[in-house]
């Protein structure tokens, strides 16, 4: 027992000495970044935002030469994590991934946080919504879905995410622009697109509006088919899928996006370092290989371009949410 105590004492001594030493030898003021950076991801481990965030974290680490720790702050439909980024100290040591929900949460009355609380660094991804049905469905394009909804309102159900989520708005806007009531295709809330797709394949709902990427596994399995995309032109990764307008659908676009942001008021020196690093990361082969592999759409907008993108997205989301009664 005595020797045990001795071991404890020795170990404690070593630990204390190491801790002190680490504190003393901390480097003197140097150029940013001089210590690890925290990258906040407002969604859970395993999702698309988490996956892209972690890749960017690893690549930024290579560029900046300091560890970039990815931290998931989940919950509250993204409010918790987005607030954590905005409320952090604008010193460049806390950055985060902002997603399209930045422009939705405040309209839904969940928070007063808007894109103005951020210093934009770079937009790195956009994924337009798709119209996805079972492989054995009789519908061949999105126009037929709209016609079926007109013919028998309320008969066909749709899913893809929770109530008032981005993919719900995609459907709501499509119905709205086609002059249909929301009850024409009732929304069945689900846990993310995976839950919605499960319902679709299990014949629980008839159509899912989520990004085509999220269904790519099921697409290649021949379980579902993508019959429309809500963007102005066809996607490079899915060239066979027509846009809504091509098949007589309404003029309606909806896409999710992801970008790296810092809290508002980040000094110019730090902003420049981060922007330059993100520029290199986005153009790197590793990043391209990963994004193409999973089918994530690659879009790049830096600084003010990113800011005006967020502003536009915010406004158009507000219009839809008011039109369909999801705004407070």
């Amino acid at each position: 027992m005595k020797s045990f105590k001795k071991i404890i004492r020795t170990t404690a001594g070593i630990v204390a000495a190491t801790t002190l030493l680490a504190a003393v030898t901390a480097p003197a003021m140097a150029e940013y970044p001089e210590r690890p950076i925290t990258l906040i991801v407002p969604w859970g481990a395993g999702g698309g935002t988490d996956a892209t965030g972690r890749i960017i974290g690893s690549l930024l680490q290579k560029e900046l030469g300091k560890p970039v720790n990815v931290v998931n702050r989940t919950g509250g439909g993204g409010v918790v994590g987005h607030s954590a980024i905005a409320n952090a100290k604008p010193d460049g040591y806390t950055i985060g991934v902002a997603t399209v929900e930045t422009g939705m949460m405040h309209w839904a009355g969940l928070t007063d946080l808007t894109y103005e609380k951020y210093t934009p660094i770079a937009l790195y991804n956009t994924d337009p919504a798709g119209v996805i049905v079972r492989a054995d469905s009789e519908w061949k394009d999105a126009g037929e879905v709209i016609n079926a909804a007109k013919a028998s309102p309320g008969k066909h159900k749709a899913s893809g995410t929770g109530q008032g989520g981005i993919w719900h708005l995609a459907l709501a806007g499509m119905l709205n622009k086609s002059g249909l009531e929301q009850s024409a295709v009732p929304w069945v809330p689900s846990k993310g697109s995976a839950g919605g797709l499960q319902e679709l394949v299990a014949e629980g709902v008839d159509v899912v509006t989520c990004s085509i990427v999220e269904a790519s596994g099921l697409l290649s399995a021949g379980k579902v088919k993508a019959i429309g995309v809500m963007s102005s032109e066809r996607l490079a990764a899915f060239p066979d899928v027509p846009t809504l307008q091509e098949v007589g659908g309404p003029e309606w676009e909806m896409a999710s996006w992801r970008g790296i942001v810092a809290p508002a008021g980040l000094p110019k020196a730090e902003t420049d370092v981060l922007s330059a690093a993100m520029n290199k990361v986005w153009h790197s082969d590793d990043f391209k290989k990963f994004m193409d592999g999973r089918g994530f759409g690659m879009t790049y907008k830096a600084g003010d371009d990113f800011k005006s993108w967020m502003k536009k997205s915010d406004e158009s989301l507000g219009v839809v949410m008011k039109a369909v009664g999801l705004a407070k």
Partner: protein, 499 residues
């Protein structure tokens, strides 16, 4: 067969085996620390796997998770603090055994059933990947609703003592699950304007609070020596008596593993729920129901094999359709994509060796568990030698950091404290806490599936029985609920005649 041999040579490569041993040690450490889950261990592996080839990367994830789930049993049995949520279902039972001086048997059974369950799960994964995936895709919200009901019916079963108090405890858990932003309506409930509350009561800090903090509070509040001490016991003969137990309950091992494998395949169910369901089934069908909760090994056999069998199952929908069965496989899918291998049925044609390598990795990981798990238990037996007055503050600090780590903010600690005090008051007054935990686990799924089913069916209740699987599950659930009632009525009718 060629693919199988190809897979074998991929795994039995010195580098891959070395990675797996490292991953197993990592998994054991993370799993045995309350608050650090298998998901977190996997997420931490991502930057490391980034620099690896696909096979060692996937093997590392498989090994880490398999060992972490077992390691969760160790602090559960020795300190009544489940290391991962998958151990929560039978934590009380295992700790009761430790109190009786049977920690060695509890951990020995935990280790062997984990290995057997894991191996059976791997066999199932290997034999029936595509058939199981097809089965999983027959599950819509109706079937999930009944599944959640089946899970809940084990709540009153898992609780020891008064049925009424067990029911109150379950309702408290279900209520706690409604806190936060509501998935169905997008409306915040019971958050009182707090941003942190929007994310609801995270399960891990709640679990740490209810098991560990309440235990610390009970220790310091007890009068000196009035509290039953945990006897100091050696854990050297870990496998003594295990053979007899396994032989006696061989059917339970098989049943637990099957329940685990099937539950694991269903996206969103997974190892945690598998452990609860199989423990509940075990108690309900046992000949010695009254012994459950007092340190009876039978339930451990069922649930211990179920959670490890469930792990392999979660890979089925992930590999075949790219739909993750749990958050671990969600991360694994990301790693696969990163390596240019897209999950989907094509993976059978394009990469059969890789697929086989995943299966073999499961086998090897479970076999590695035998020596490494043994070592971990031997080391952890030192815990029992430390006097409680030294151990309790140390546990408290681990709980604080563990709760913090889940939400990465002190909000996790707030949840931990609130739930700890709640659990302390409940247990002092004879309310079992296991049903509360179960309510928190299943509450969100139950509500979501119920409401989305109602929306789909336009309020028609019969729709819950309109599909073959949902009708079967529904009838089964109702029967399970009714049988004890009928038995009770019969007794009441029979009693006056006796007098």
């Amino acid at each position: 067969m060629d693919a199988f041999i190809g897979g074998l040579s991929l795994i039995f490569d010195p580098y891959v085996l070395m990675v797996m041993v490292g991953a197993a040690a990592f998994g054991l450490v993370v799993g045995s620390i309350p608050g650090l889950t298998a998901t977190m261990a996997t997420a931490l592996l991502i930057p490391v796997t980034f620099f690896m080839d696909p096979v060692p990367a996937i093997a590392a994830i498989v090994t880490t998770v398999a060992t972490a789930i077992f390691a969760g049993d160790i602090p559960g049995a020795l300190l009544r603090i489940p290391g991962t949520p998958a151990s929560a279902a039978y934590c009380d039972e295992a700790f009761a055994m430790t109190r009786k001086g049977k920690a060695q048997l509890a951990l020995g059974v935990g280790l062997t059933t984990s290995i057997i369950g894991g191996l059976i799960g791997a066999v199932v994964l290997m034999m029936a990947t595509s058939a199981l995936a097809e089965f999983a895709f027959k599950f819509s919200s109706y079937e999930y609703f009944w599944l959640a009901c089946l899970g809940l019916s084990s709540a009153v079963v898992v609780s020891s003592g008064s049925t009424l108090k067990g029911f109150v405890s379950l309702l408290i858990g279900l209520f706690i699950a409604t806190i936060g932003i509501d998935l169905i309506s997008g409306h915040p409930r019971f958050t009182f304007g707090s941003t942190e509350m929007l994310s609801g009561v995270s399960f891990i800090p709640a679990m740490i609070g209810m098991f560990a903090i309440s235990e610390v509070l009970r220790f310091v509040a007890a009068k000196n020596n009035s509290r039953p001490k945990v006897p100091v016991q050696s854990l050297t003969n870990l496998f003594k008596g295990v053979g007899g137990v396994l032989f006696k309950y061989k059917f339970n091992v098989f049943r637990g593993s099957s329940i685990g494998a099937v539950t694991g395949v269903l996206p969103g169910a997974g190892a945690d729920i598998a452990a609860w369901v199989s423990y509940g089934v075990s108690k309900r069908t046992s000949k010695e129901k009254e012994k459950y909760g007092t340190g009876h090994v039978e339930g451990l056999v069922d649930a211990g094999s179920a959670n490890n069998a469930g792990l392999a199952g979660a890979w089925v929908p992930a590999l075949v359709f790219g739909i993750p069965g749990d958050s671990v496989t969600a991360i694994a899918i990301g790693v696969l994509y990163m390596k240019g291998m897209n999950p989907g049925p094509m993976i059978f044609q394009e990469n059969p060796q890789l697929l086989n390598a995943v299966f073999i990795a499961f086998f090897v990981a479970n076999l590695l568990l035998l020596p490494l798990g043994y070592l971990a238990i031997r080391l952890s037996s030192q815990l029992l030698k430390i006097p409680s007055r030294m151990l309790m503050p140390a546990i408290l600090i681990f709980c604080l950091v563990g709760s913090f780590a889940i939400t990465n903010s002190v909000f996790g600690v707030v949840i931990m404290l609130a739930m700890g005090v709640l659990a302390y008051i409940m247990e002092e007054n004879g309310f079992p806490i296991a049903p509360t935990i179960l309510g928190i686990v299943l509450g969100a799924m139950l509500e979501e599936m119920f409401l989305s089913s109602m929306i789909k069916a336009d309020g028609e209740l019969l729709a819950f029985f309109s599909r073959p699987i949902s009708a079967t599950l529904g009838v089964l659930t109702i029967l399970i609920w009714l049988i004890p009632l009928i038995k009770m009525l019969r007794k009441k009718v029979a009693k006056p005649q006796l007098q």
